[in-house]
């Protein structure tokens, strides 16, 4: 035999060491940095304490329009000159938004970091926001969203979110808005939002070789001209569960696949069950080897993939499953998925499955120590959720020590198969009767 039959065990475990974290107050703002000696690339990320959650109801997508408008010229130069200045350094301004925060960042060789941070601050703090430019950006963003919404997924996501959280609430509407909400924004919405939120200092996050970086100089650039305190964050939002399952059908005529979005509300990020919930979600749907993917892909061949997880922001959370399945098997795929969620809630997880889930989650923390981008993202988590410097090391320990009883209890408590909303975006004419016949829930009109 030419192959070695015995599977090798692990070698000596390497210690987990998150890079040293530096926190300081400088130039009126907070700096949180990680030292990555010898690393040629560096990341600087300006984290502002304003997320989609701060957008007024009816003004969804405001932050996205503002983010794009930041690069349409600054107090110092026009849009083309700004693009050439940034790209001439070899970088690009990258922006991101979630429910809790807004970020603008650059990734760049460390010797050009300070010039890049100056340009980043120039756009975030002193954009021109010329009326004609803002209107054009708004129109382009509305068009971009229309393009995106022509893909399967966004309409189903919106239907699920509205049903879970209520479309009368900001958090019941799409995080990035929809084509109509963006088209309805006016210039003043954008300029007022900027002056209210983008002139507060926020936090500068830096990941790189700190021996080659002057944090105080970066802070001076990032926080110049800022003022005002942190925003009132608001407490966790109580979101009631539905009594009884419901089915929402989003028509996509001629679709060769049905897009599935299944979900219900779940606890906010600071909930004490965060770790066991994460692991329960991993066993059920968070990894390739999870129950849902095994059953629907590897056993039945219904799909290219199916995933499910708990996700949480500061104020609320949700459990959701997503997949695309062949049109003809929409109903059986849905029955199998709901069945697996029900089984996991009722009977919990096994030690064998949990062993994979906790090793995977813990191991990923080691794997993610490589790049400045990943380290900056980890620092962002610390800031957004008020976590200590040793959070990732502690998280690793809690993942590794979670036992079957804790994780099964989290599944029993936080999965609600009877309260699921089942959104199906597909060819209604073909699948409607099959969906009704499943008797999984009331088909909403």
């Amino acid at each position: 035999m030419t192959l070695i039959a015995d599977r090798p065990g692990p070698g000596a475990a390497r210690p987990y060491r998150f890079p040293p974290v530096v926190r300081r107050t400088a130039a009126g703002g907070q700096v949180v940095a990680a030292h990555l000696p010898g690393q040629n690339l560096a990341v600087a990320l300006l984290l502002l304490d304003v997320g989609a959650g701060q957008e007024p109801v009816g003004k969804e997508g405001l932050s996205g329009v503002l983010a794009k408008a930041l690069e349409e010229g600054t107090a110092q130069r026009d849009a083309a000159a700004y693009a050439l200045a940034v790209e001439g350094l070899g970088t690009a301004l990258s922006t991101g938004l979630d429910w809790d925060s807004f970020q603008a960042s650059v990734v760049i060789p460390v010797d050009r970091l300070s010039a890049a941070v100056e340009l980043l601050a120039e756009a975030v703090r002193t954009p021109r926001l010329d009326s004609a430019d803002v209107r054009r950006v708004r129109d382009d963003e509305a068009t971009a969203l229309r393009m995106d919404w022509a893909n399967p997924g966004p309409r189903a996501d919106a239907a699920l979110r509205a049903d879970l959280f209520g479309a009368q609430n900001r958090w019941g509407r799409p995080m990035h808005g929809d084509p109509e909400s963006v088209a309805g924004l006016d210039v003043e919405d954008v300029t007022v939002f900027h002056s209210e939120w983008f002139l507060r200092p926020g936090t500068l996050i830096v990941a790189g070789d700190l021996d080659r970086i002057d944090l105080d100089a970066l802070a001076a650039a990032a926080f110049a001209g800022t003022g005002g305190g942190p925003a009132e964050r608001g407490g966790p939002i109580e979101v009631p569960l539905h009594s009884g399952r419901r089915i929402i059908l989003v028509d996509r005529p001629g679709s060769v696949q049905s897009t599935l979005r299944l979900g219900h509300p779940s606890p906010h990020r600071a909930h004490p069950d965060h770790v066991p919930m994460t692991l329960a979600g991993t066993v059920l749907g968070g990894a390739f080897t999870s129950r849902l993917n095994h059953l629907l892909r590897e056993v039945h061949g219904y799909t290219y993939g199916i995933r499910g997880d708990f996700a949480a922001s500061r104020r609320f959370g949700r459990f959701a499953v997503s997949s695309g399945v062949q049109t003809a098997v929409t109903a059986p795929a849905l029955v199998e998925a709901v069945g697996e969620i029900t089984r996991t809630q009722a009977t919990g997880v096994t030690e064998d499955e949990l062993e994979v889930a906790r090793s995977w989650r813990a191991g990923q923390l080691s794997v993610e120590l490589q790049s400045p981008r990943a380290i900056a993202s980890a620092l962002t988590t610390l800031v957004v959720h008020d976590l200590p410097d040793d959070y990732h090391a502690r998280l690793r320990e809690s993942l590794l020590s979670a036992d079957v009883d804790q994780v099964s209890a989290a599944a029993a408590t936080h999965l609600h198969p009877e309260a699921l909303t089942l959104v199906i975006e597909g060819d209604a004419a073909v699948i409607r009767a099959d969906l009704e016949a499943t008797a999984l829930g009331d088909l909403l009109p």
Binding site: A144, F288, E298, V367
Partner: protein, 429 residues
């Protein structure tokens, strides 16, 4: 300008059975990337067997002599690792990044499926993964607007019989016809140690890796009669333009302009890489400045230009733009062609060149900032050019490209055999 684009050590070895092993040590994180390039891709597929190399890639995760069905994924994820595999016209790569103490497990798994896949391959597995791949085709190509652009461009760029004529995902008809014996033969033919490169990057020493490679792969037999893919290097110019117009369920008109350029790895392709960056990367690019910002006929997020890094024939150079509301496909196509054509007539300025090189430089270091990014590139240079050390020459070569070379390449590549693919929103009632 850096002297080297790869300031890490590279050590190589070759087992008696021909397996090339490349190691690049770096202790930045307690993780190690394991990567295997097999020199087989969709360019090896004969007519009637399109999509087989990629479907085969799926089968490699379904168990082997000592690894049960689905156990591969479970063992890698259960050790904290992440993994995947991809197939393209040139090659098939398999890779995992694991906490460093699980290096030996990863090598054992890779050796078991290199040497012991066939006995574990069943009709049931094939049928299941055929369904999965057909779902992948629906999800990625059929159910999304413009999803089939690549499937349409290839046969316009490469004539029938050319190894790049058909797309890697294959046709539904061929996938339906796939039989077990063909896949057993596929593995015996191509999955031999002398047709592969094993690369390990990260928290490991070369001598340990070489010893482990010998332990797990050393006894696998070489195969000395691996059939080459058809030679596609010479694609005679037809002097024709190819124009295809598609009415489809798309939200706006979109135009692609494509040409055959030079093979990846050639000096000409480096010029094309810089040219494409000047043309279509970023807000300072010609396409953005002219079509998105200047004339405002194109959507700003959807203009772009890129080379597709294929090494065994003149590689595609593609430019694309999507119309703003109210702009016709004809107007957009005209505008796009004008900016593309000007590469040959309007000299590239020093500022344009510097911008492109700065962006490419940062892009290079980003790609190398992870151990898996480095492992895949080392595997590529070893497989395609026989020498991993060529990786160090890549960035300096890009940074040495001149405006004159760009004008020459533009005149050469853009002069003939243009492919224009246009999507039009279909009339709805």
């Amino acid at each position: 300008m850096p002297d080297s684009g790869y300031p890490w050590p590279i050590q190589t070895s070759r087992l008696d059975n021909g397996l090339r092993v490349v190691v690049s040590e770096d202790r930045i994180a307690p993780a190690v990337a394991v990567n295997l390039w097999y020199d087989v891709g969709s360019r090896h597929e004969p007519a009637g067997q399109t999509g087989f190399a990629h479907l085969f890639e799926h089968l490699m995760f379904e168990g082997s002599v000592n690894v049960a069905k689905t156990e591969h994924m479970k063992l890698i994820q259960g050790s904290g690792g992440s993994l995947n595999a991809t197939t393209n016209p040139d090659r098939t790569n398999y890779f995992e990044t694991v906490p460093a103490e699980h290096l030996e497990l990863a090598l054992w798994l890779e050796a078991d499926r290199m040497g012991g896949l066939v006995p574990a391959l069943t009709q049931e597995t094939l049928d299941n993964q055929r369904d999965v791949v057909k779902n992948e085709r629906r999800q990625r190509y059929e159910n999304v607007p413009y999803g089939d652009a690549w499937l349409r461009l290839l046969p316009l760029l490469y004539p029938p019989g050319h190894p790049y004529h058909h797309a890697t995902i294959g046709s539904m008809a061929d996938l339906n016809a796939a039989d077990l014996a063909t896949f057993q033969a596929f593995h015996r033919t191509y999955y031999a140690p002398n047709n592969a490169v094993l690369t390990v990057v990260g928290d490991a020493t070369a001598s340990d890796v070489f010893a482990l490679a010998d332990k797990y792969f050393g006894a696998l037999p070489a195969r000395d009669d691996i059939p080459p893919a058809p030679d596609g290097r010479n694609v005679p110019a037809t002097g024709q333009t190819a124009v295809e117009s598609v009415s489809a369920d798309v939200p706006a008109p979109r135009v692609y302009i494509a040409h055959r350029s030079y093979p990846f790895g050639s000096p000409g392709y480096n010029v094309i890489t810089v040219l494409a960056t000047i043309l279509g990367s970023g807000r300072g690019s010609r396409l953005y400045q002219r079509l998105a910002d200047g004339e405002r006929i194109a959507q700003p997020d959807l203009v772009g230009a890129y080379g597709v890094d294929l090494a065994h024939a003149p590689a595609p150079l593609i430019a694309t733009a999507t119309a703003r509301p109210g702009v016709s496909a004809e107007r957009l196509a005209e505008g796009l062609a004008e900016v593309v054509d000007e590469l040959a007539t309007v000299p590239v300025t020093a500022a344009e060149l510097d911008r492109a090189k700065a962006l490419l430089s940062t892009g290079w270091w980003r790609q190398l900032s992870t151990v898996d990014g480095r492992a895949d590139l080392l595997g590529r240079y070893t497989t395609q050019f026989g020498d991993p050390a060529r990786i160090a020459e890549q960035l300096p070569a890009l940074l040495a490209v001149t405006a004159e070379q760009i004008a020459e390449a533009a005149a050469d590549v853009l002069a003939t055999d243009r492919v224009t693919l246009t999507y039009l929103p279909e009339e709805t009632s």
